[in-house]
Amino acid sequence: MTTSDIAAVRRATDRVRERALAEGLIDIGYATLDTPIGRLLVAATAVGIVRIGFEDEGDGPLIELSALVSPRIMETPGRVDEARRQLDSYFDRGLRQFDLPLDWRLVGSFGRRVLGRVARVPYGGVESYGDVAVEIGHPRAARAVGNAVGANPMPIVVPCHRVVRTGGALGGYGGGLPRKRFLLELEGALPTSREAARSG
């Protein structure tokens, strides 16, 4: 393998990608984005965003999608361009409400009710697992709600970071607590660490 071979291979695979897209052969297209909370994997079907993965998850989300949805997976930055634009704006404190088509196929029916409710918690706000349980008509299912929130395959865009424990503790987060804290601080739902230190 020489450097010029590598360039030829890249050119050839780029054209395969274009034709595969044009012929509808790519079931899942993905790209990675650099964000203040690390690299994000954004994967989309023809329906919409199906999975967002944090850097620590590595190739896990792609392997999972290959098994559960389809192995016809290719890196296609174009398919997630709009998601990239909105996420960039969100992290720049511009966008406050995502408007992206979502593909819910990785979520079961209970999870859809839970996450459908979570999606309506506004920017800058938080809600407890118990509140969500009440709102979907299962007041005693706070734990099941917690599980469904934790299994959110489309974090950030479906803002599961806005669900916290009753009493104000942050609760858990699939992407790790520092990321949850970062997102809530970004949205102004939590005082930033510096402000907290000043007032404390």
């Binding site: 291979v9 050119r11 050839a12 595969a20 052969l25 590595g58 290959s66 559960l68 192995p71 890196e75």
Partner: protein, 160 residues
């Protein structure tokens, strides 16, 4: 959805990352540089179409080369030329693989983290299957795949 298959097939992108070079070189040898790129696209698109129906993910490179060989024959037929000998694809595969990588690439391989370096070396310099790489390095087959994949991704970034 939620169809359970056997061991999951790797995402198609990984096949491209790993085997596109081998397939393109194979085709260049057989049909020449001008037609190789067209054949390459026909090969990869045919593979992509058929991919979900594959029963398992062992020897995906052999599978791709079988398709490539068919496309090369088609290309000769279409142009009315007499096909070169395409019977012994395996000999050609070995030849394509034995092409010595250049020094720059070896340097880049040398800079990979140990597990990735050894996995990439076994896979491409040693032409070893994943289950054997896994046994040699005492890791799972999935980890072996991942190491090779990550290694190639890094190399690709460096060689850009």
């Amino acid at each position: 959805m939620h169809t359970t298959r056997g061991p999951a097939l790797p995402p198609f992108q990984w096949l491209l990352d790993e085997h596109a070079g081998t397939v393109l070189r194979f085709l260049t040898r057989h049909v020449g540089g001008t037609d190789a790129e067209d054949c390459f696209q026909e090969t990869m698109l045919a593979a992509l179409r058929a991919y979900p129906s594959l029963a398992h993910g062992t020897n995906l490179r052999g599978w791709l080369l079988t398709i490539a060989r068919r496309k090369a024959v088609d290309s000769f037929r279409a142009s009315g030329r007499r096909p070169l000998s395409l019977e012994d694809a395996s000999g050609e595969i070995a030849a394509a693989e034995s092409t010595a990588p250049d020094a720059e690439l070896w340097d880049a391989v040398g800079r990979l983290p140990a597990k990735q370096r050894r996995s990439v070396g076994l896979r491409f310099a040693g032409d070893r299957p994943y289950d054997e790489i896994a046994r040699t390095l005492s890791i799972s087959e999935e980890a072996a795949r991942r190491n090779v994949h990550e290694g190639i991704k890094k190399l690709r970034r460096e060689m850009r």
